[in-house]
């Protein structure tokens, strides 16, 4: 009981929980779910992008896209290590992912159909991730907060590069401008849905807020994101697919139609357009790589690292 009091005092004082500190089971579980979902999203999120590496229309765009995917693999590594501070292994986390017991962000289950999707995906979903993660940088768990500082910096770079892809399209041929319009129309709602369920449908959210794992409610972050996107969409000359979207001077915010949360729940549950494809791809890569990982382990066992010096 003394431990719980100390823990709650630390949270209340906006202090950081560290791996060696005592923490309530519920806190550990909520945190692990959050970090695991974040890590899984980084590695699953590579798939819709790698779909376009081979076909990127200029070498510079190809390089930027490969660098982005590399960053995501790096974030994945970093976040799996962060999760490991909670006493689990990366192997276990991957098993949970492959078995479908842990989740990743739902937008990853939509397909990238044209080159413009690469831009829209980065502009909107990385943009949403930045809004989310900037807030999460003040999370109460120290290792996660520190990981997020680095992740955030790179995500915000990706977000800008996505905008840049779209900007080039917006100044391009009619086919390119149509590609832009179409992609933004398809990615707008998957991005809005990234902030999760609204207050009245989300029970976990309150607890995460109380423990300061999360620092802002879903709806507040979603509004912040919409307010950021609208002027950017104007620069792109692209219409966001929401006839209700307009400035509300009283609220000082844009009004908008919320995402279809039933669709979000269906996609999270596994019935998005690409869930099966993404999971099959991920499992196949893992299974086909098994002999390589076994070889590395066998080699390491035969050849213990030379002592330093």
């Amino acid at each position: 009981e003394a431990e719980l009091e100390r823990f709650e005092a630390l949270i209340a004082a906006d202090g950081k929980v560290e791996p060696r500190d005592w923490m309530p089971d519920g806190y550990r579980r909520a945190l692990l779910r959050q970090i695991a979902q974040h890590a899984h999203s980084e590695i699953m999120g590579m798939q819709p992008e790698t779909n376009w590496i081979g076909r990127a229309p200029t070498l510079m765009r190809k390089a930027i896209l490969i660098a982005k995917v590399q960053d995501e693999a790096g974030h994945g590594l970093y976040l799996y290590s962060t999760a490991e501070t909670l006493g689990v292994t990366r192997e276990w986390l991957l098993d949970e992912l492959h078995a479908g017991r842990q989740k990743y962000l739902s937008f990853i289950n939509y397909p990238t159909l044209t080159w413009a999707d690469v831009g829209a995906l980065a502009w909107l979903t990385d943009g949403a991730a930045v809004v989310n993660q900037v807030s999460l940088c003040r999370t109460s768990y120290g290792p996660y907060a520190r990981a997020l500082v680095r992740v955030c910096r790179e995500e915000s770079f990706h977000h800008r590069q996505g905008f840049d892809i779209l900007y080039a399209l917006s100044r391009g041929t009619p086919a390119q401008r149509e590609m832009l319009r179409d992609a933004v129309a398809r990615w707008w709602y998957p991005a809005l849905a990234m902030f999760g369920l609204p207050r009245d449908r989300s029970t976990r959210s309150d607890l995460s807020l109380a423990w300061r794992i999360k620092r802002a409610p879903n709806d507040e972050l979603r509004q912040r994101f919409v307010d950021i996107c609208v002027p950017q969409a104007e620069i792109l000359g692209v219409e966001l697919p929401d006839p209700e979207l307009r400035w509300n001077p009283e609220r000082g915010h844009y009004d908008f139609t919320p995402p279809d949360y039933d669709e979000l729940m269906r996609v999270v549950a596994g019935d998005g357009p690409c869930n099966r494809q993404r999971m099959a791809h991920r499992r196949r890569a893992h299974e086909e790589g098994a002999w390589v990982r076994e070889a590395a382990a066998a080699y390491a066992a035969k050849h213990p690292a030379e002592p330093y010096g």
Binding site: Q47, T58, I66, A73, A300
Partner: protein, 243 residues
């Protein structure tokens, strides 16, 4: 196409095609560390390709930039060696290609970094550092797979046997051009570390014999056309568009 433009174009095409193949591993590598490492190598190769193709375009003087060269040439106009275009059906094949090609590139770039051609020397000096890392990486994996499990040994040996014949083309003589290094002189220096690594990895060094060739003259393997279709499709579908 002898002369400096053809020389630089050949090296640029090598790097471009190698980058395209290595990048195919993104999001399907055997482990996450390898996703990072292979993406990094693909990026280095692509950077080399861009610098070399830009320079080749300038030397050629027909107003073609890196993208015009990468995206609008037909198969028969590409000057890369066949080794880099071989399909990476198996991670062991990727490792074998990376080892053989990495050591070759490293030797060539190191020599070229003191080229009288300052532009080429600059590109080569940067690339020599990058390829040192690629080589280390390939050596590590050659050892792990060659001296890992029975299965990995079998696969790695098969990959070495499959790729070896294509290494001969790397050392085909190039007509003397000021500022270039003739790769024909590098095979001895290449064999030494390669044979050493194979030995340490408990792998058999294949016999020299069949030596397929033609890439530098635009004769490629059938796999190459499919690679180009992927590489160039979007660019070709929107002629004249800017991206």
């Amino acid at each position: 196409e002898p002369g400096l433009p053809g020389y630089v174009l050949g090296l640029g095409d090598d790097a471009l095609v190698a980058a395209q193949r290595v990048a195919e591993w993104c999001a399907r590598a055997p482990q996450l560390e390898e996703d990072v490492a292979l993406a990094n190598i693909a990026l280095d190769l692509l950077g080399q390709a861009r610098a070399l193709l830009s320079y080749a375009g300038e030397l050629e003087g027909l107003g073609r930039d890196e993208d015009a060269l990468a995206y609008t040439r037909d198969e028969r106009d590409f000057r890369n060696v066949q080794l880099v275009e071989l399909p990476d059906r198996d991670f062991a094949v990727t490792v074998a290609k990376m080892l053989f090609f990495g050591v070759y590139q490293h030797l060539l770039y190191t020599a070229l970094s003191s080229s009288a051609d300052a532009r080429l020397a600059g590109i080569a000096a940067k690339a020599a550092k990058e390829t040192a890392y690629h080589t280390d990486h390939a050596v590590t994996w050659t050892l792990r797979l060659g001296d890992g499990t029975a299965e990995s040994h079998r696969r790695m040996q098969a990959a070495v046997d499959e790729v070896w014949p294509f290494t001969h083309e790397l050392f085909e003589p190039f007509p003397p051009v000021p500022g270039t290094v003739d790769p024909a002189g590098l095979r001895g220096a290449w064999l030494e570390p390669v044979e050493r690594v194979l030995r340490e990895a408990t792998l058999r060094r294949p016999e020299d014999g069949w030596a397929p060739t033609g890439g530098r003259r635009g004769t490629h393997t059938e796999a190459f056309g499919h690679l180009l279709a992927e590489l160039q499709y979007v660019h070709r579908a929107h002629p004249g568009a800017r991206w």
